[in-house]
């Protein structure tokens, strides 16, 4: 039984990833703080599980349930994340640690719990959702540090588990229209869209397609696939014409 687990599965990108993986998998575990509505929307292959990725007890319970019900997972997508901007001079150290816990330490801890069962199933794929912010963005010291940490961890872990048939990769989305980006001021939104070469915001499906590719690509590991409409090769700080 091919099983995928998506953390943050009820969020904008996560929901799209779950729906995409449900095409090929037998079960998609929609893991989130409140996964039920998203799981119902995705359909009968979706199995909701409550997960707070920053809680050790919650991670342990979800991993144990996956092992008990499915013998583990074939695909783990670490998609849960929180974005909160602050300039470094005024960045609250507690916020910094909170973003590290959710965006970096929680994903690594959950991956640790599921690596053994994945190995016993003969291999699998870990896809970490990083961010274009890993390349650096104004005001994002905490978020970019966490996502850069995820990229760094991905490279080393990919080398560590390659012989076990497990690939570890990152998808780094740029601006994707979701609830997380809905709150941006209009001025910032306009400037952001203007800096995207393809001329539109990303959609969750754009990211989901990249995740599905990496989940099935057994000869690709330790890589970062940037899904940003070309913004990472353009100038994100150029002034509008």
């Amino acid at each position: 039984m091919k099983t995928a687990l998506v953390t943050g599965g009820a969020g904008g990108i996560g929901r799209g990833v779950c729906a995409r993986l449900a095409r090929d998998a037998d079960v998609v575990v929609v893991a989130d703080l409140d996964p039920y509505a998203a799981a119902a929307e995705i359909g009968p292959k979706a199995r909701p599980m409550v997960l707070d990725v920053s809680s050790a007890a919650s991670r342990t319970a979800v991993a144990a349930a996956c092992v008990e019900e499915f013998g583990g997972v074939d695909i783990l997508v670490n998609c849960a994340g929180v974005l909160k901007d602050a300039r470094v001079g005024t960045l609250d150290p507690a916020l910094f640690r909170r973003l590290l816990a959710i965006n970096l330490l929680g994903p690594l801890a959950l991956t640790r719990l599921l690596l053994g069962p994945m190995t016993r199933r003969g291999g699998g794929a870990v896809v970490n959702i990083a961010s274009r912010a890993w390349l650096g963005t104004f005001g994002s010291t905490a978020y970019s540090t966490a996502k850069g940490g995820l990229v760094g961890a991905t490279r080393s872990l990919a080398l560590e588990v390659a012989r076990q048939g497990i690939t570890v990769n990152c998808v780094a989305p740029g601006f994707v229209a979701t609830r997380m980006t809905d709150g941006l001021p209009d001025r910032i939104r306009e400037r952001t869209l203007d800096a995207i070469p393809v001329g539109r915001a990303g959609r969750p499906d754009d990211v989901a397609d990249a995740v599905a590719y990496l989940a099935a690509a057994s000869y690709v590991t330790g890589q970062v696939l940037v899904v940003c409409g070309g913004r990472s090769i353009g100038d994100p700080y150029r002034q509008p014409a």
């Binding site: 850069g148 760094g152 080398l159």
Partner: protein
């Protein structure tokens, strides 16, 4: 004629092989070198929640605290240089914690370079290999020279060519 006032460089962290040559570098502007202590090798499956927190969270938190402590003294015309082992940044089996810290610092430096440019602070990262300590000190001296102000947000590998052919993070 102008007189250039030089001063020693604040060095945070690092072992003596690196700190000693760095301590001989002089700078025309307020400058600091941050050398985070990276965790040792361990399989991911051996990393408990407590170890992940200590080896990654605490190290990155300490770097942030030091950056915030230094910022007032660097504003106007300062330089911040992070130093990382290239091998940890490029990736090494059984070194997920070290890779996470190195990756986190690389991205922190990129963001700080963008953010602090308006405050006159240049931020760069030097990635080094063992036995390259003297060359590292010369590279840092170049970044701290008056002409180095235009160099920011860069990652410079001082590794005698080791790691060539590997995709950089």
């Amino acid at each position: 004629m102008t007189t250039q006032v030089t001063a020693g460089v604040h060095v945070w962290g690092g072992d003596s092989a690196l700190v000693h040559p760095l301590s001989t570098v002089e700078s025309a502007v307020p400058a600091a070198c941050l050398v985070p202590d990276l965790p040792g090798d361990r399989d991911l499956e051996a990393l408990s929640d407590e170890l992940l927190d200590a080896e990654i969270g605490d190290v990155l938190g300490n770097v942030l605290a030091e950056v915030q402590r230094l910022l007032p003294g660097l504003t106007g015309s300062g330089r911040l240089v992070f130093l990382l082992p290239a091998e940890a940044a490029l990736g090494r089996p059984h070194a997920t914690s070290a890779g996470a810290v190195a990756g986190g610092i690389l991205s922190m430096a990129r963001t700080l370079a963008i953010e602090l440019a308006r405050d006159g602070i240049a931020v760069n990262t030097v990635l080094y290999a063992d036995a390259a300590e003297t060359a590292v000190a010369h590279q840092v001296a170049a970044l701290l020279a008056a002409e180095g102000a235009a160099v920011t947000g860069q990652e410079i590998y001082v590794t005698a060519g080791s790691g060539l052919g590997r995709l950089r993070p």
